[in-house]
Symmetry: D2
């Protein structure tokens, strides 16, 4: 977020963005059975019900309580129950037990959402121009926070449904299958001092700023994502059996958990299938590989004689491209083969936005000159800058063992 | 065990008992929100949804599949999903993850129940006299199995709701409060060889037989249960702080988990409250103490200069009494003070049935001459005869750290 | 229990027993390298160095400090460091870390022993007849305590050396090999009320008393121990692969730890070997099987169509026999085949003393009328009466998963 | 290491360096009791005995076996037992159990060392000039490897002795105490492209190369290390109680393990003491703070309104300084106050070498252009480039929770 002075004080626009975002969360949840809202299949995922409540808590805590005179919470104890990790606000309910709370029920959580929405609209309505200007950055942060949780709802729900031996589908959307893999090209860069980091009027999280000088080494970057077909060649070549390809920590993980392929992959009668939100599907060799951990991405890159891009390299190339792609808004929730995707050319640096998040070879650390926000929102990002690698697309980082929705780009050292 | 007195080959009576038992399970669940059915707040409890399905699985597996020609399961994979621990039947879904399964939904589980019921009724209807005679013991076992799970549904649900910081009540039944604690009397017994273990026409689990000789030492047994008031005196006298009162394993548990009082007790503004299925209630000094582990029961008895009764002593005294009391059928789900209870005299050996289960000082081991049932039902009890102490009332045993619905009787060594 | 028959108030005899016992401990340790004294290969075993110090601590704590005027400890902090589990004495050093203490060194522990011995002899020397009478039971307890730790030193050292991939031998004593297995006979007993439990002048631990009535059912008991040959038949018949033979808790353990044979057994080029204190040896089919857990003993007995004896049965038969056998005093530290053993007849109830400890089917619980000792020694046994099964020979009990030096006797139900 | 072509082929110099290094390891161990050699007080430290054997294994594996014709190992199985983590060489003995191996004894390990030394000298003696040139880089790597383990022997021994409640001293060297803390100055740097990474004839580990361009931002760096006095002010200001100063992972660690001060610190009667290899000492407010984790260093820097230097900044400043300081060779094994140290001026950038290792704010990742060595030595460093932060002085990195011998430098953002 931060210090944007855009037309965010335009109340009508604020209302529109707020309303659209809130609606999108509920639309995502609409196909779920009540029982699905409760699932927390491991400590690091959260129930859909919790996400829907927590994003409301964010608006209640940072907007309604400080700025709406006479605001009355629907339930005082939600302050504790739906706080994720904000010590500034107070103690938090034990995270791994979020799935053990049946009350409030789903209906009560929707009532909570409505209560927050009604009051937010009241706040917008009565806001003077100066108050509107003051709350605009927080509203924008809240909206982006909810959008971030929409992505988490997708990945968490996928994990929660996938552990069910029945492998239930979330929806019946058909995932397009590829016909041919476009050839791999390389985009050259001569290196030199460039600037990365966000600056401008539109929204960014605090840790995406400030814009600062950085030195790129001469390099070239692959024109498209690694495909399942290419990843299958890695597997076939003993990729999961050769210690010399792996970081020591990754090799221990692989052996401890018996990794043989990306998360959600399963071999059935000799063929590879994987779980998707459209149910079990045969792996499409033309589609981008997805759900690989950093360890797998790094091992694959080393096997291919390449390396992962640095975050600076990724960002420098990406910021020249139009922000178009197969996003969560499209509700497919699965990457598409390049030759079927959204009319994008199979040319230079395709699919950098949308489809997947992409591992970089950089650690998640503060940009030069980083300053966290004041107060509660200052706990958003800075305190997590340790033991994570940068994953780009939408968010900046993840623990290296995480099999998030992602895949590596290939880079040849110049 | 217990009260099924029908002529087992009498089909009409079989239908009646079957139908009544199945209905009772669903009546228990009726007040629940869908979300409540999903809860598994620790490995040793199961979701209500799972209980409702598993008891149906029992009839399907041991009656419908072997005896109903042309029987078609509603879903083949339930054989695996709802098997608790019967290796004879096949592999079992991972027990601690029962709460992570959203599908089948609650509605689908009720459809499963209906499918099993319809087919069971068809089986009863078309059974020849000889088939009726053959299936009667299995039906009786299935009915008692479901009744046992009804008790588990109560204790499991209580645990599952109690961990919710909102402490939601299951129902609004009012628990009677005592006015005075009846004086403690002692029933003497001269000792000698007696017989214990079940024999007869009515139902008993395999491990409750055979009837066999046992030697009682001269002893006397308390006429009523220990009250909360008496237990509060133990707490006030440093009961939870004096290592010399505790078994070594219990003392380690107490320290490791910070025990200060029975499970579900909480001190609020200096007064003791406890969670009940009617919500948080002030502890009633005249009511029997409940939810103490074996370690607590044993420490209390030692502190009082007494010991727990042996299983043989308990059974010998109990089998002379009428089977009357405050049972789960009464749906109060909480013990009542003796002076308010069901019109029972406060005299000799009150409340041995109903209200609570009672710890004995005996280990859970086979009765002399014990033979398990054949096939799958043979896994019901025998293989668990290790590391448990005998708890009487309805079931025979539990792990010593379990805070089940129970309390100690006091016995003076003669 | 055992064989100290001196008149306890006879000081000369006290000195003699004390001195002999203290010497025996040091003779056991004599072949060890300094490094061996330090080993603690799992939480439940203790380093030899610790045992040697702790038994001295026992005399210091319960004899020297209370009874020897002006006694000065060689090091005050040993009171804490070498306390095993006596809360009465004070806090204890963390048990699983006993192997992490290099100082005091082995030499310093021997100096500690000498300091205690010198002072104990001074105490004996200056004891008035009445003091001698007062301390005699405590000296006797201390001597028996040290003898018990001598057995623990053997089993702990065996475990500690066995985990070394070099499988170092403790000594080069040759273990006699059998030529033929004597036929199995059965000793009949008509049942009835008998007395068990110790009573008399010689020493016994508190939990071995009092003598009390008990009811034996008619039974017969095997005339000799189960052999390795018989146990190999159990293995060959799928003993470790058939769930129906095992207690549920044992089956989980077997699968969790990959049991395929008794502890210390290893299959090398198709033949079974096992680690002994004389190094790796080929398993002798004529020798008693040893190092089986309760779960294995119970599974074997069930497979053989028998059961384990109850403690009362074992004790009733054993107490009629002369206390002769292959004891730790003989320093072989391994059971011998019956046809090579000490000239004992292969007849009725052989090898009940010595060679091995024997699992019974009884839980470790207080004998009727049991009263613990006063003060510190009262923590010796009573507080461990939970979750253990009775193992006879020398000590009364062990956890069921322990692979102690033991084996089952077979009993046919009459 | 890498591709150095210095006069390393000079055999006499090789012999001299080799001999001196081998001798230094044994001199370090000389004051130890045999028992001390065995200690492994947590998984991440190794027994001194193991270190002494493993460094010999390195020479045996990478020099003697490939290059000395007819070489006979003293014990074949040491190849497995003393392999640390080289999968190229073969499987490895379980690391956390290194302290559970009593045999080979300490004397046998010294015999192993002598066997390796005798054969290494034979190899040197018979080496042709071309062989000498070929082995020179490996000898140099082996020597530096052994020196690295000498530092580990110091830190591991310190941890191993410190957990002993008797807090035994390793030696009786007196640690100089400071009189006054020199004022803190700041060295300015204008930023710009500089080169870091090693290049030249002298030795470096592979991950310290190649030399490459890097961009420094304008900054200033503190002229001296943070003192205990300054760190005490942080503690007094609630440093260990204020969540907002800590990374989330560090705050969890602090709470989980109850951190209140640096490792080895203890408050006795209101004053702070800490364990040193000279025994318990009062904390000297003028001496550099030491044994802080990355989390503590980072929290301190944030509290002081500063940040930690980047690795590039540290290296750029350090490489201009003479390599002088209070090194392990000096055998004090503790940092000294600046005003008492080795005659160094209290001026610009003091104590960057010696005394302590210093945390930087950089993650441990490959330098641009990094290529690991071929074969076994290639496993030395590259595979550990994950989840570690860079710690400079001698080694490049450590896990952030490690309380190594280190402390932060302060840097003001320009």
């Amino acid at each position: 977020m931060s210090t944007t002075h855009s037309n965010a004080s335009d109340v009508a626009s604020m209302v529109e963005t707020y309303t659209a975002t809130r609606k999108a969360s509920e639309e995502f949840a609409a196909p779920l059975a009540i029982e699905d809202y409760m699932l927390q299949a491991m400590d690091d995922v959260s129930p859909t019900k919790w996400h829907l409540a927590h994003v409301s808590w964010f608006f209640e805590t940072f907007l309604l309580k400080p700025y709406l005179g006479g605001y009355k919470p629907i339930e005082e104890r939600y302050e504790y129950l739906f706080n994720s990790y904000y010590n500034t606000v107070g103690p938090q309910y034990h995270r791994p037990s979020r799935g053990l709370i049946s009350r409030p029920t789903v209906a009560e959580v929707y009532a909570y959402r409505k209560h927050v929405d009604d009051n937010m609209l009241a706040l917008f309505e009565q806001a003077s121009p100066s108050l509107a200007a003051e709350i605009a950055p927080l509203v924008r942060l809240g909206v982006n926070h909810e959008q971030q949780h929409q992505e988490l709802m997708v990945t968490d729900l996928k994990y929660n449904l996938a552990i069910n031996p029945f492998k239930p589908a979330y929806h019946d959307r058909e995932i397009p299958r590829g016909v041919a893999t476009p050839p791999l090209g390389w985009v050259e860069h001569p290196g030199g001092i460039v600037q990365t980091g966000w600056e401008g009027d539109s929204f960014a999280f605090d840790h995406e700023s400030p814009r600062h000088d950085t030195l790129l080494h001469p390099h070239r970057i692959a024109s498209r994502l690694v495909t399942n077909g290419e990843y299958l060649a890695f597997i076939a070549d003993g990729g999961y059996e050769r210690y010399e390809l792996w970081l020591s920590q990754g090799w221990a993980k692989l052996n401890g958990e018996g990794w043989k392929a990306p998360l959600y992959w399963e071999q059935i009668d000799g063929a590879w299938w994987h779980y998707t939100l459209s149910g079990m599907q045969k792996v499409d060799e033309h589609a981008p590989v997805v759900h690989v951990s950093y360890f797998e991405a790094d091992a694959f890159a080393g096997w291919a004689g390449k390396r992962l891009p640095s975050e600076d390299e990724w960002e420098h190339h990406a910021e020249k491209l139009a922000i178009e792609g197969n996003f969560a808004d499209d509700r497919l929730f699965h990457p598409v083969p390049l030759d079927t995707g959204s009319g994008l050319p199979a040319g230079e640096l395709s699919q950098m936005y949308g489809d997947v998040w992409e591992w970089t070879g950089s650690a998640f650390l503060p940009y030069h000159g980083f300053t966290p926000l004041e107060g509660g929102p200052g706990e958003y990002n800075g305190k997590f800058m340790m033991s994570q690698m940068v994953l780009r697309g939408r968010i900046r980082s993840h623990t290296p063992e995480s099999h998030a929705l992602n895949l590596p780009q290939l880079l040849l050292p110049a």
